[in-house]
Amino acid sequence: MHSSTSNFENNLPNAKWHIILPLTILIFFITVGLFEVFARSKGYKPTLNDEKFLWAKIRASVQPNDTVIIGSSRALFDLDLDELEIALNVKDIKQLAMTGSSPAPILENLANDNNFKGTIICGIVPGLFFTPDNIPPMNKPKEWVKTYLTFSPSEKTNLMLNHLLESNLAYLKQDDLPLKELLKQLPLPNRDQVILPPKLPPYFFEIDKRREAKMIQKVLDDQNFREGIQNGWLPLFTPPPFPPFIKPEQIPDIIEKMIASKIQFTKECVDKLSSRGAKIIFVRFPSTDKLRDLENKITPRQPCWDRLLLETGAKGIYWEDYETLKHFTCPEWSHLSAEDSVKFSKELGAILKEKLEKIE
């Protein structure tokens, strides 16, 4: 045997394994039980995790003539798939919208998929859509698209098995309860001038195997909880300051270039889709109160939304333009309640149908 290699043969420790092994297994299952009791006592219910493999599965199931929803969290929470299918008279709408992200990389992926000739409903949140590359709202969808492109058999099996666990265990909530997230909640004061990522809102939605997401009732019932989410949106939607080496007079030019390049990119995608008979329609979903004011201030309608439609030549629906849609309000300022998402989808579906029929 080589001098550099050895093995564990002589290192098996003497211990009472006949006691240790069964007792440890027992403690393991008791710990799982305690975690579960803790999670449920905090109001958590079993729900799937909205993660990249579930998204990849839905993306992989898209058929050439399917209707597909892309966009940010508003397109995810505000649309009821059953209601939309009835209104549009289509089956099996695919939900590919994603929280905290820009739909641009997904739009590009669908535009480059020559098999796809269906319909895209694209939710636009300007603050997320008109972002530069290499920041979280762009990185997340890029990573998820990459996961779809390399979706392996073991990842598919893993997803299936994890769904069995997630459907029954409330403590498996990757956005809120893992050690990584719990550590972030430690109340330790930070150094001055530390650049911190924006704080994301706590668990407030449930999602199923179709990726149909609904706001949980606690948002409506618990004022403190609701206000906690509301307060999270304002810093999250406020753009970070430009680095000091950029002069203030340069900023409008930079923003203009950013918007122009994103619109140019979108136009190229729209043209590709249209050339093979696929349809795309943009939708602006409701926001409320201080968040609405902030959005109007930092991403006003004319230079963002109106220009997007004008330059891409695509159709769009801005909720405030329609009597049937403009009265909807968001309890936590950014998303509709589960009940309202059904009503909203019914009304929006009727408008979508009419608009889509006019697209050649």
């Binding site: 550099s4 093995n7 290192n11 003497n14 092994l21 309860l177 930070n190």
Partner: protein
Amino acid sequence: MLFNSTTFIVFFLVIFAVYYLIPAWHWRKILLLIASYLFYAAWNPPFILLLWLSTVLDYYLHRKIYYSDNQARRKLLLLISIVSNIGLLSVFKYGDFLLENFQFIANALGAKFEPVKLGFILPLGISFYTFQTLSCVFESYYRKQKPVESSLDFALYVAYFPQLVAGPIVRIENLVPQFKEPKFLDLNKLSWGLFLFTIGLFQKMVLADTLLAPISDSIFNYERLPNILDSWLGVFAFSGQIFCDFAGYSTCAIGISLCLGFHLPDNFKSPYASLGFSDFWKRWHITLSSWLRDFLYIPLGGNRNGLLHTLLNLMITMLLGGLWHGAKWTFVIWGALHGLYLIIERGIKSIFKNSKLSEKLVVKLFIFFITYFFVCLAWVFFRAQDFGSACKILSSMFNPSLNGDKLLTTTNIVVCIVTVGGLLLSQMFFRNKTLGSFYDKKPTSFIILTWSIMLFFILLTQGSGNAFIYFQF
């Protein structure tokens, strides 16, 4: 298939149960072989063909090489094996890298050359199983080992799933003799194997992915300049992350294998407790460094042809060792730095050859810190996306006047210091010990407690595992 995935747990439970239920040893080995191919194909089925090609080719060649008396024919067969194995590795792993560099040189010389990017996906574990099969061909060539007679044993040696995709890189004599005798369910081996598997998962899921990766990622992925403290902590965090990630995989592999009745060699022996760089390479990725020593450094001449040749051989070995990790110049620089460290160490050792100074505790501590410090400096190139990013981190680490951005929260700082500090202390403690000897005759309650604490933290991570870093090599 990742060890830290639900699929693997179910896969292993099924294989484990069927394995011990089958009475005939031959059929149990066939089951292990099928399981190994399933394990591999579960990532990307077509690439199983490369594994089969490597198996068939090297089974045939290593036997022919051993039994042939014609030296010229033996050399030719060895060359065929090297060219085909390294050729496959080069095409899939280094193809684009070679083209890019060729393009750079051609353009610098004024020739217009724009190659089409190959864009191959890197087959999982190709660097590991290529080196494993090559080791058996080399050993046949040097007639150090008798060739494997059974094609089933050889195929299982190449594809044995616990160590297939990220090592340890096993030699024939480590594994094939164990295939001769049937294995029976042994509670001691099963329990210790599961215990080691838990340690490996704890290292990977808790220490590497949960505690350290967010810190090193936030520093190394930051586009602007990080603050001096943050840069240092980011590098220390990566030193812990890379160890826990890779050693975690090896420990899982050793544990799983033990459950099936097979012993795999150690791959790490408290490397951060090293006293010097030659000591480090006897403790870090042992199966790779011994492979490089036996099949590259020694055949190049080792230390047999004078000082200059020895130093040159060291540098070539470390440069190629760096390149083994990936088709990027940053890996080559990482290897070159370690080559340089080893050369300087030789120089210092020759000066203090007769001195008893190194036996003093203070000096030992000094050497320990110096070794860890320079190993960390080299990690900067290993982790950085490119040369520019590495230089940015290094400039931030050594130039306080640059005043970069503060990125780490107080929690991050505490977690980094406690985790990396704890890791270094534990490695100093285990420097001359093995886990097995430490747990030998320990109270039952102590073992249950440590095992349960690790399981508690693994549960707390919720199994949201990333791929192992060494999968990309």
